[in-house]
């Protein structure tokens, strides 16, 4: 008899959701977290789309430590000396079930893990899992942590983007640099009213999500972000590892430094007090970089399974993690009840993922990572083209100006009309 029906590795979004469902189904479940508390090792940009959390915990709005509801979406094309920003606000993005909130992982993950505990899961923190117990036929039967073996009929692997266990559990390959990005983020504290004003939000419970493309990563694959929290602003850079490996002089730390000093960005955090500098990897390889999701006695969910999507205008991961974790927990509970935790017995997890938004989204956008990786003009040329057009339209110097085409056409021709059509077609198809 195993020590637990299930052991879940990692108390992030996926792990706590899996443990929550297993506990609710009456299974004995151990949730093991290497940080001193859930969330202590985790970082997000970040924003959480709530539809997934609502399915897990319908009344989460009453209890979850959410920072601000996102009521403004901003995207900026950033040239070194200019920025062109789209600001979108709508009633629809505020509707219940469609709304999103900025979050900070230390408070959020502690809350989600406490929900799993309240449902009956046993949480232990401060213990990294060193290894998996795997028998000679490849069946996973628990973990090795703190030098002790803890046996379980099902092991759910949710150890995050830098998964040290995915390869052992389901034979995942080591991720390639082209499949991963690195995020570096700083949190600046500011008074709530100041943040509300800078976000142009209506109240202190509303705020903005802001993505940047162009000069923030020195023309390479990646982007900048800024999210307004209740009493702080999260600001950072995400840069593709392959592009960084082959890149020029700039370091990610210098990219963030220059980004924060950019005249379009600096006013957002002016006067703020730095309270944290964090870093994390982002699995951006998409559908084709995902490992096998089910093994004998093992399931894998969340960032560890590369369940993340970056489309440039939208970045998602936590909602996939929550739903995948939930499905992993439910599938494991069913398999335990049926007495078959083999790969076949657990395969319902994969079936459910395939018929849900998780794998449907990831598959529909499977071309996005490669397209974006090769979309150099988006990171270098287009922000400058837009700057030149806008300067032509808005800058008045008292010399006689021609019609609009005089401002637009030279800029467009600099990048090539054919390239524009090609890129527009590629973006519409892949993003």
């Amino acid at each position: 008899m195993a020590d637990f029906d299930a052991v879940v590795i990692g108390a992030g979004c996926a792990g706590s959701a899996a443990a929550y469902e297993l506990a609710r189904a009456g299974q004995s479940v151990l949730l093991v977290e290497r940080g001193n508390f859930a969330g202590a090792k985790n970082m997000t940009g970040g924003r959480l789309y709530t539809h997934a959390l609502e399915r897990l915990i319908p009344d989460f709005r009453d209890r979850a430590p959410l920072e601000r509801r996102v009521t403004h979406e901003r995207i900026t094309l950033l040239a070194d000396d200019a920025g062109f920003t789209i600001d979108f606000a709508s009633q629809e993005m505020k509707e219940q079930g469609q709304e999103s909130y900025t979050v900070l992982r230390a408070p959020f993950d502690q809350w989600l893990a406490s929900e799993a505990e309240a449902a009956g899961a046993e949480l232990i923190c401060g213990i990294p899992v060193e290894d998996l117990i795997i028998d000679s036929s490849g069946v996973v039967g628990g973990i090795v942590a703190g030098g002790d073996e803890i046996t379980a009929d099902v092991t759910v692997i949710c150890d995050g983007a830098n998964s040290l266990l995915a390869s052992k559990a389901v034979g995942a390959r080591m991720p390639l640099p082209v499949h991963m990005a690195v995020g570096v983020k700083q949190v600046y504290e500011l008074p709530a009213d100041v943040i509300t004003n800078r976000a142009m939000a209506q109240s202190n419970s509303d705020g903005s999500a802001w993505l940047f493309v162009g000069d923030c990563t020195k023309g390479h694959f990646g982007g900048g972000f800024a999210y307004t929290n209740a009493e702080s602003i999260s600001i950072g850079i995400v840069a593709g590892l392959e592009a960084l490996a082959n890149g020029g002089e700039a370091t990610v730390c210098q990219m963030l430094e220059d980004f924060k000093a950019h005249p379009c960005v600096a006013p957002l955090i002016a006067g703020g007090k730095l309270v944290e500098h964090s870093g994390h990897m982002v699995p951006e390889g998409g559908f084709d970089a995902m490992p096998e999701l089910v093994g004998d006695g093992a399931l894998i969910a969340g960032d560890a399974a590369m369940m993340c999507l970056n489309l440039g205008y939208m970045v998602r991961g936590m909602d996939y993690a929550i739903s995948a974790g939930q499905m992993a927990g439910l599938a494991a509970a069913e398999a335990l009840a049926a007495g078959d935790v083999s790969k076949k017995g657990l395969s319902r997890y994969r079936d459910w993922l395939e018929s849900s938004f998780v794998l449907k989204d990831l598959e529909a956008h499977r071309g996005a990572p490669e397209f974006l990786e090769g979309f150099d003009r988006m990171f270098d040329d287009y922000p400058k083209v837009v700057r030149d057009i806008m300067n032509g339209m808005f800058v008045v110097d008292g010399l006689s100006g021609g019609p609009l085409r005089d401002a637009v056409m030279p800029a467009l021709k600099s990048v090539g009309i054919f390239n524009l059509f090609k890129d527009a077609k590629g973006a519409l198809k892949n993003l």
């Binding site: 983007a161 590892l241 960084l244 990610v252 210098q254």
Partner: protein, 100 residues
Amino acid sequence: MSMITAELNIDAYLATNKYEVAPESHIVLRDGAAGCDPKEFDKLIRACPAALYRRSEDGIQSFNYEGCLECGTCRIICGDTIVESWNNPDPGCGVEYRFG
């Protein structure tokens, strides 16, 4: 490779974080930092979000695990050319995000 302002400021940034520094490094480099292939080492200089991989003005390469953010970027970006092993820090050790 220049790091201009970032290198001047990064230690102050990391000082805002909460750490419980482990007695030994959880990241082991194959040939020590000084002996690493400079071209591969450049990748780590560019990509480490804590700027822990550095080259001094006289060309000496160094690495200090103490400010590690445990992202794993160095485990991926150079394949197996530089990082020999990357393990989680000892129980209770490493960075502890208060915001995240």
